[in-house]
Each structure stands twice: as C-alpha cells, then as structure tokens.
Symmetry: none
Subunit: 193 residues, 4 copies
Amino acid sequence: MPRPKDHSKVENIYQAALQLVIRRGFNEFRMADVAKAAGVATGSLYTYFRNKEELVNALFLDTAQQLYSSLQVEKRTETTHYHFMKIWTSYYNYCFVHPDHMLFIDQYQHSGFLSDETKNEAKLHLKSFDDFLHHAQEYGDLRMLNLEVLKALILGSVHEFTKLNIEHPGTMDFHALETCKEMIWEAVKERRA
Amino acid sequence: MPRPKDHSKVENIYQAALQLVIRRGFNEFRMADVAKAAGVATGSLYTYFRNKEELVNALFLDTAQQLYSSLQVEKRTETTHYHFMKIWTSYYNYCFVHPDHMLFIDQYQHSGFLSDETKNEAKLHLKSFDDFLHHAQEYGDLRMLNLEVLKALILGSVHEFTKLNIEHPGTMDFHALETCKEMIWEAVKERRA
Amino acid sequence: MPRPKDHSKVENIYQAALQLVIRRGFNEFRMADVAKAAGVATGSLYTYFRNKEELVNALFLDTAQQLYSSLQVEKRTETTHYHFMKIWTSYYNYCFVHPDHMLFIDQYQHSGFLSDETKNEAKLHLKSFDDFLHHAQEYGDLRMLNLEVLKALILGSVHEFTKLNIEHPGTMDFHALETCKEMIWEAVKERRA
Amino acid sequence: MPRPKDHSKVENIYQAALQLVIRRGFNEFRMADVAKAAGVATGSLYTYFRNKEELVNALFLDTAQQLYSSLQVEKRTETTHYHFMKIWTSYYNYCFVHPDHMLFIDQYQHSGFLSDETKNEAKLHLKSFDDFLHHAQEYGDLRMLNLEVLKALILGSVHEFTKLNIEHPGTMDFHALETCKEMIWEAVKERRA
DNA sequence: AATGAATGAGATTTCATTCAT
DNA sequence: TATGAATGAAATCTCATTCAT
C-alpha cells in the first residue's frame, strides 16, 4: 500500500496560499512559496492541482464555501427583522475574524484568473441566503427588488465595513456596528402602507 | 510621477494600461503589452515612469482623480436630500460609463502594489465629498456616524451595483436604480424626533 | 539487466514502452506512462530495472533480438540468390508488421542513451547473417566488400522502404517490392568474368 | 533606432543547437545549453523562437535546406550515369563532412517533435533532385519505379554509409566508396533490351 | 514485492528592465 | 528622446526516483 493521498495536506496548502495572497498584496503568490509555507515540496502541489490556475480556482471555491456558510440561515422561527440581523451579524463576524478570506473572494471575484464554472459554483453556496431573501420578500418584509441587487447591498456593505476595519482598525466600534446594522435594515425593509 | 514631457503620450499609456488591466483580468499586465497598446516602444515607458510600480501608482492616481471628480459636489443651494441624490447619481453614472475605472480602483485599493502615499493622495480628491457629508451631519440631515463608515456605505453601494451591471447587464434598470437611490437615502438619513 | 522475477510483467513493460516510444514521437517516454500502460505501479518498474537508462537498454536488446531473428538464415541448401531473396523478404516482412520495432532500433542505434555494451550485444544477433554474407562472398556470389558496408546497404534498404510505408502507405505494392528486391540483388551480387 | 535584430545570431544558435544535439546523443538538448553555446542569454532564444519546439523545427528546416542543397543537380549536359555519380558523390561528401547534419535530419525526420508542415517544407528542397530522377526515367536510364522508392534507396544508402563512417571510421575507404557508387548505380539503372 | 504519493533537481518559459543604436 | 532587441533573474512546471505503507 502506498501512502494514502493526504487530504489534510490540501488544507495546509489552502491555508498557506491564503496567507500568501494576503501578505503579497493579492497580486501574486508563488507556487514555491505556497509549497514552502505548506510544508510540502514544490512538485507536490502538482499532485493535488494540475497548475497554478487550478489551485487558485480550488482555493477560491474552498474559501467561498467557508465564507458563505457563515451566513447562518435557519428555519423561520423569528421575525424577518430578527433573522436578518442575526445573519448579517454572523457574516460580519466571520469577515471580522477572517478579513483575508473576504478580501480574497472580493479581489478574485472579477479577475480573469477564475473560470466561469468556478464563479458559478461559488454562488451555489448562497442558495439558502437567496431563499431567505426571497421568502422575506413574499412575506412583505423586504423591498420587492431584484434579488441580486438586494444581495449586492447587504453583502457589499459587510465587505466595505470589513475593508474599513483593515485600513482604520477601531473605526467599527460597537456603536458604529449597531448603527450600520440598523442602516442596512432601514435600506432593505419594506415600508408598509 | 510621470515627467510630463508629452502629455498626450502619457494619456495613451494610461488608456492602454487600463484596457489591459481589464482584459487580462486585473491580475497582471505586462509592460510590453502596455507599450504596444499605447503605440510606443517598451523602452519609452521608462522615460515617463521609472518602473512598473510607478506606472501603476500614477495610473491609480489619475484614475482616482477622474472617478472621484464625478462626485459633483456643489455649493449648498438645495436640500441635502436633493443634493445627495444628485451626487450619488452622478457617481453612479460615471461608474456605469467607466466600469473599468471603478473596478481598477476597487481592485488595487487594497493591493500591496500601491504606496501609502498614493493611497492618501487619492483620498484627497474625496475632500469635497467629505465636506458635504460633514456639513449635512451638522445640519442634522445625515446620521451621526464616522465619516469613513458613511462613505464606505455610499460609495460601496455604487461599486456593488456597478459590478452587478458588469456581471448581469440589464439588472439595474430604471426602476431598480430609483429604488437603490431611495434605499441608500433611507439608510443614511437622520431620523428626526 | 532485468531481474527476471516475473517474466510476463517484463514483457508487458517492454510492450508498453515500445508503444509509448512510438506515440510520443521517439523523443521521450515517461516512466510513469510506461508503468500505467504496463498496468504496474511506477515504483515497480524499479524492481525490474535499476533506472530508465537500464530499461531503455534492455528494451533495445529485447527488440533487436526479435528484429534480427527475423533474418531467417538457414543452412545452405539453395542458391545464394534464392537464399538472399528469402532472407531479405523475411526481414522486410517483419519490419512491415512491426515498423515500430524497426524504427525504435533505428532511432536509438546512434543515440547516446545506449551503452556500447548494449550496442555490441545487439550486434551478436546478426552473427548468422554475417556468416551467410561471408560464405556467399567466398563462394563468389557476393561482391568482395567490407561486410559492414554490405550489411548497411541490405538492412538499410529495408529500413528505408519501411519508413516509406509509414509515411506513404501503399507505395510499396507487390510490384514495387519485387523490383526493390531485384535492385538490391543487382547491387550486391558479384559480376563474374 | 534599436539594435537591429541580429540574424547572424540565429546562425550561431543553429550551430550551437546542432553541436549539442550531437553531443547529448540526439535525445535532448537544453535551451540553456543552446543559449550558452551560442553566446546569448537564455531569454534571447525566445526573441527568435517562440519555444523549444519552434527552434527544433526551424533548425530542421535550415539543416535540411543545406543538406539537400548539396545534391548538385545541374542542367543535363552529360550522360545520366555521369550525372548520377556526381550527384551521389556530392551528397556523400557533404554527409562525410557534416555527419551531424545528416544524423540530425535522419533522427528527427520521423519524430513527433516536427510538425507536418516542417516535414513537407523540408521535402521541397528535394524538388530538383526529383526532377533529375524523373527525367532520367523518361530517358530510359533509370528503372521505372515510384520516385519515392528510388529516392529512399539512393539517399538512404548515403545515410547508411555515413553512419558506418561514424561508427567504424576508415571503413569507407576510396575503394569501398567506388564500389558503393557502382553498386547503387547497378541497383537503379535501367537494363535495356 | 508492490504501491503510488511525495520529492526536488532541473528544465522551460516569462517579463521587467537595460542599453546599443 | 525613442527604439525594441537583448538580458537574466525568477517564475512555473516536469519527471526520474525514492520511500512510507
């Protein structure tokens, strides 16, 4: 029996690659560096990924999956308002703890490095969030607006606030955060007659 | 800083570089490609810019200046609401026509390629917008919130909607746009007692 | 030298390697590919051959032995002319059926990959053909000429015609083949006083 | 004005590449080695050739052109026999002086490295030799046989004798050479009624 | 003995920058 | 000043070989 393909190594590679993406400013990361940081040989990267492009795509998918999973959508038990706040906060918290993940996704989303397939597959992880928004609209709790537009505003706001945190740490204190949540809710909530 | 020997050539270079940034997926653009697209020799780039980094920084400044100038802040003659709508719309329109400018700024803003000096200088062009927001807060028309946070929300929303336009052209129709403006206003406006 | 632990496996490896040499254009064949095609693990190749060089040498010997055995030299019972035609034809037929074998030998014969030992050992399988030529010269049936030169012409002609068959299938029809045999015989036969 | 692309450098590269092909046994030559031997930087090879494959193809064409130009076909002024001997001898002499050229052509002719286009283009340089053979057949001086077959025998014989020269220098002495010429002529000449 | 994942030296190729013209 | 061929350091990728299982 050969050594079984070590899938924890793939995790190490993802971690290392992400760290480097951040450190080297999102512009470029070198395969040799990824290998070294992951504690494997350069050539080993190519047992897991056919080339650099495939590694980036896989890393993107893996990261997007984690990032979007942080949108804690649950079965409807509370008011839309309550649920919305909870989801937004959980997403914000994830971005706060892992700004690198969010930045990576944000940066590469529109880059030519990613295949359309990857981009589409990444979006699948937003399905339950889509459903939440859709149902909330049907209940008359959210503005009737193209879902993509709604999503862009909600997730985009988190992204922007996270970038702010990176550039000016401390700006987003407790009070600011509460206000932000409130603002976004005011933006998206339906105004009843 | 470019030595403005021949300003039209520098303009060509900027144009060419921006086009390439878009085409090559924001990841990398080659000096040779920029030169060819700009209709100059590779070596000539180095008469205008000391190296690639300087070219990127100069391009960033030039683009940011144009982009941020589109925030048509005027002297206060109308209500804050009216003025806000006008500014947001003019910015949105610029992004709609030049999505590449906006994407370039958005992508490189947090990249290690830019010097802090460049980043700061770029922000100077937001000074009049800062002033507008600040005064509007003083008049009690906008939420009392860290200016950076307010800005992040306002400009960020335009950026997100522009990205939407790129990915799904047509999503942002007239109705959606009006609603978006309304949403952002609802988010940032001060609720009086 | 292969350790003949499992002779059928070595045969598989030879077959696979030859197939690959053909497919990959005689330039390079990869150990991993040979292993896969032979249905064994990469590492297993190294139980049979110390390294790639040894595999090539062994393959060369094996193939040369088969190729040269097709020169059906028998005890002198017929005229030299009859015997010559028979031998040439049997060699031609083998090459026609196994052009890959012939090409492999032809390509690697002068390549630095083979040890002198291998080259010499391969030539031993031409011993009986050498004898045939030598005796035919003594009988005054073949030109008195350095044996190597004679061999070069006789075997070389078959090789050339075989290559022709590969490049332009059908060129060597029955008539052409008969003429070729005749030509070579005219070339090598002794003209008596 | 930039440095004009130095086409003598291409010649250097060809020379260097050929030398290496020989030295390293026709199996492989490294771009870095070619560059060093040609006295240029590694990267410079890529200003002349897009990649290794293109270099090999160009080298093949260049070498084939030289090799085949040595077939000194002239206007018919003498007997076919005389002319044939002259051509064969001039080709043999070229191969004797440049065995490396001949070996390179012979080795790569059937290798997957060359494009079909290259192979076909190389053959164009045999056009005047084809014409010579064709006319000689019409005059009733050469056997009526597919031209390709005739060529294979004539050129192939030279190749084989050249290889002999490499392996056993001295074998092809003056006497042997004269006999060889005679043999080939006996093989290809038409036997009149 | 057999496996095939892992290795890493070494190959090819790229591209920012220089420099002869 | 302008040119673009030339450079070579540094990147990506390959593949013969090793070795833990």
